[in-house]
Subunit: 150 residues, 2 copies
């Protein structure tokens, strides 16, 4: 007999969610900071490493940020020598992204760091809770639109 007790309002859940989201962000930034990178930057590099060559807009969609944001971040990562931009031959508007050798090496390190951080974070949950959580999250993000900018 779960919810019969103390019915939470939707607003309270939203509050709790946003608070937890910040905890999560902070946790990842701390852990990845030990690897000398921020969460968004590492996510981009890791994603490019996983699915290169990848177009900018695809990448943005994959990591869940707006295209303009991805553009700016990628720009910095290219300047830092972790990613390479290359104009597509098929469609000269689009940009194909790849990791450099350095980027690939760091991506491996950061992937490990990211996974470890995630495990730490979710360790207090039972496997059952974890799978329930995923279900819920997918349900919540299913109906809603993606960021604009494309």
């Amino acid at each position: 007999m779960p919810q019969a007790r103390k019915s939470v309002t939707a607003a309270q859940v939203a509050d709790e969610f946003s608070r937890t989201a910040k905890v999560l962000v902070r946790h990842f930034n701390e852990r990845l900071g030990e690897h000398g990178v921020s969460t968004p930057r590492s996510r981009l590099v890791v994603e490019v490493a996983r699915s290169q060559p990848v177009r900018l807009t695809e990448l943005a969609l994959a990591v869940g940020i707006a295209q303009g944001t991805a553009s700016t971040l990628v720009d910095a990562l290219v300047r830092d020598g972790l990613l390479e931009r290359q104009t597509s031959a098929d469609d000269r508007r689009s940009v194909l992204l790849r990791v450099t050798a350095q980027g690939a090496a760091l991506a491996q390190d950061w992937t490990a760091g990211y996974e470890l951080a995630a495990e730490e974070l979710f360790r207090p949950l039972t496997p059952e809770q974890l799978s329930t959580l995923v279900d819920i999250l997918r349900t919540l993000s299913a109906d809603e639109a993606s960021p604009a900018g494309g």
Copy 2:
């Protein structure tokens, strides 16, 4: 015997979480935007209305943001005539916050908008999922530290 299905990795859950968090933020910004306010601003005003008079640091803690962030946001809200600052007589370092008449009126409107937005967002969940979600969120945010700046 739930989780026997398809074991998700912690990293995937983290990805899903961060994606959902963005969906949530976007949803609230859209809905509250119809009321002419952003989510963080409305949260501050609503919280002050609920527990005035309140000190700045308490407020920051209550809404889950860093003290410096609260300071800046409150500053804007004071300029806009929604909040009032008043130096505490007991401790002249601290600032007591109250809503103005205008702030109180808007807080009511925004509270309604916030609750409606939350209900929309969580409508696809069963009451049971909702209460499970809250449990999980509280578990996750329990061990972790609050933002610095205090």
